[in-house]
């Protein structure tokens, strides 16, 4: 088999939610994703940004074949997701982590939950144990393996959920606002675990988030608005367009915003400053 470079390819992908009235007639059609085309390469860390209701979650569910396109095509690791016979392979290749940690942990003990995916795939018992151990280690949760998930913090629960996906040996992980319900500490833990998976295990990561600070680790950013992908590029390219982002009702990282405001006020700063360190350095260079 030839080695493919791209992990996910979307071609004019569109999805309509259809609401029916009492008699079963089509009442309303919501076009949640509207003709989206993009490509994700193996090993990429892609962040997806967008205002509430811009269709991010709908798009994410396509990558895991929880939804199939109404129009257009989506290939995951070379497989067409609309093809029924690819369904389980697609779900195994592209794992998904959801927002609420409580609602995605199935097991009553941490290690049993991590083993749930491999069990479903029919992995032999001995290998399940190996996979559980290595995935818990990868998210730094091995010492909690015998705990009940109910007694873990939000960040820990979310890392267990990530381990549960990692144990299925996916090529790609889609995380739909995994940090939205966590405190700053939990957020850091989760993002650290996700970055390690991307860098060490070379798993492709697609991260949907509202926190701009998490976006700077990505090597590619997609901005969605009203079902369309309206901006694509590196974080630096995206965040240098502060005004365009504002028109899509999105924030920029604090350092970027400060640099931009300083620039508006007349300072000679470069575009696309992402971190506080970069800002300090740029300011020092001025004087």
């Amino acid at each position: 088999m030839e080695e493919r470079k791209e992990m996910i390819t979307a071609d004019k992908l569109a999805y309509n939610y259809i609401k029916y009235d009492e008699e079963g007639r089509e009442k309303e059609k919501i076009r949640a994703v509207d003709g989206v085309s993009f490509e994700v390469e193996k090993g990429d860390f892609v962040a997806i940004l967008g205002h509430n209701g811009s269709g991010k979650s709908t798009l994410a569910k396509h990558i895991n074949a929880l939804l199939t396109p109404s129009e257009g095509t989506l290939w995951v690791n070379g497989m067409d997701t609309s093809d029924e016979k690819n369904l389980w392979d697609v779900r195994q290749s592209a794992g998904m982590v959801f927002q609420n940690p409580d609602n995605q942990i199935i097991g009553t003990i941490v290690e049993e939950d991590v083993g749930f995916g491999p069990e479903n795939m029919g992995v032999p018992t001995k290998e399940i144990w190996e996979r559980v151990e290595e995935s818990l280690k990868a998210v730094n949760m091995l010492k909690y393996r015998h705990h009940s998930p109910n007694k873990l913090s939000g960040g820990q629960k979310q890392r267990v959920a990530i381990a549960g996906v990692v144990a299925m040996h996916p090529k790609c992980i889609v995380l739909d606002e995994p940090t939205a319900m966590l405190d700053p500490n939990g957020r850091k833990e989760v993002i650290r675990a996700v970055r390690a998976l991307n860098q060490v295990e070379e798993i492709t990561v697609i991260l949907i988030t509202h926190y701009m600070e998490e976006v700077i680790y990505a090597n590619k950013v997609l901005v969605m608005d009203d079902g369309k992908v309206v901006m694509q590029g590196t974080p630096r390219e995206i965040f240098s367009q502060v005004e365009t982002l504002k028109s899509y009702r999105l924030d920029v990282p604090q350092a970027t915003l400060l640099a931009w405001e300083l620039k508006q006020a007349g300072l000679d700063l470069p575009d696309g400053i992402l971190t506080r360190e970069e800002l300090v350095e740029a300011l020092c260079r001025l004087y």
């Binding site: 779900r91 959801f98 609602n103 199935i106 097991g107 069990e119 479903n120």
Partner: protein
């Protein structure tokens, strides 16, 4: 914290009984219950008592935990006792109070019935005290496995049970949270007559149900995303495997049943 509650009445301890395969314990409990109804003589009860006491000793569960289960059936026990005592016809009348007679047969049946009920409860509590709810569902699923051929959804039911076990504490905590939120808004769950109180529960139940349905929806999606497609082709992380001590336990159980039957037939 509500989240710390233990469901069922599992008592953690390090005993042979705790380590036995849940299937053995399920079969043993059923055998013991059947044996109790086969017994019809004092010697039979002696055999059962010896068996039960040794198992209790082996379990390392403190006695007060074992008898706690009896509290719940105290009333039933009392009623059975009274009815059997006064309403069984017999040859010899031992005591007569007004129109109520206690006969020899009545005394006999009442005592037998009481012992039977007490042993029954102790026997089944012993199983739930030494087996986690999860092991129990696992054991049930494997034991009832053959029923799958008759299209009984054994795997599905056991999956439902284990999911319920995981979510009951979460939903309880949520109930508590909603209740406090409603009390803060002036709701009253404690006063008024029964109908009023039931009415006051509506603002509690509606958000609880909505949230439970949302959770169920999320969970179904998360399970599907992790390749869940029913019991078929599924492997187990912790399969139930019999070891030496389990066979040993089955042997002892067989001996016990044989003794009970022998006592009934021979005496």
């Amino acid at each position: 914290m509500i989240r710390d509650i233990t469901l069922g009445q599992y008592y953690p301890a390090d005993s042979i009984l705790h380590k036995l395969d849940p299937r053995v314990k399920l079969v043993a409990t059923i055998t013991f219950l059947v044996a109790l109804f086969l017994i019809n003589s004092w010697i039979g009860y002696l055999v059962a008592t010896v068996f039960l006491v040794s198992v209790i000793r082996l379990s390392k569960v403190p006695f007060r935990f074992i008898v706690r289960g009896l509290k719940t059936i105290f009333i039933i026990l009392l009623i059975t006792l009274v009815f059997n005592l006064f309403l069984t016809p017999g040859d010899r009348v031992l005591v007569q109070i007004w129109k109520l007679k206690i006969t020899d047969r009545g005394l006999h049946t009442a005592i037998f019935m009481a012992i039977r009920l007490i042993y029954l409860i102790i026997g089944s509590s012993l199983m739930t005290l030494t087996t986690t709810p999860n092991d129990l569902t696992d054991g049930l699923e494997t034991l009832l496995g053959p029923l799958k051929k008759l299209h009984v959804p054994v795997h599905e039911v056991s999956m439902m049970m284990s999911i319920a076990l995981r979510f009951i504490p979460i939903l309880l905590e949520e109930t508590d949270k909603i209740m406090k939120a409603q009390i803060a808004r002036g709701a009253d769950f404690e006063h008024g007559n029964l109908i009023q109180r039931a009415k006051n529960l509506v603002p509690l139940l509606v958000p609880l149900f909505i949230s439970a349905f949302r959770r169920a929806n999320d969970l179904a999606m998360a399970m599907e995303a992790r390749c869940y497609r029913g019991g078929e082709g599924r492997t187990k992380m912790k399969p139930l495997i019999y070891t030496g001590k389990d066979y040993c336990a089955y042997g002892i159980l067989l001996l016990f049943l044989a003794a009970i039957i022998a006592v009934r037939v021979l005496l």
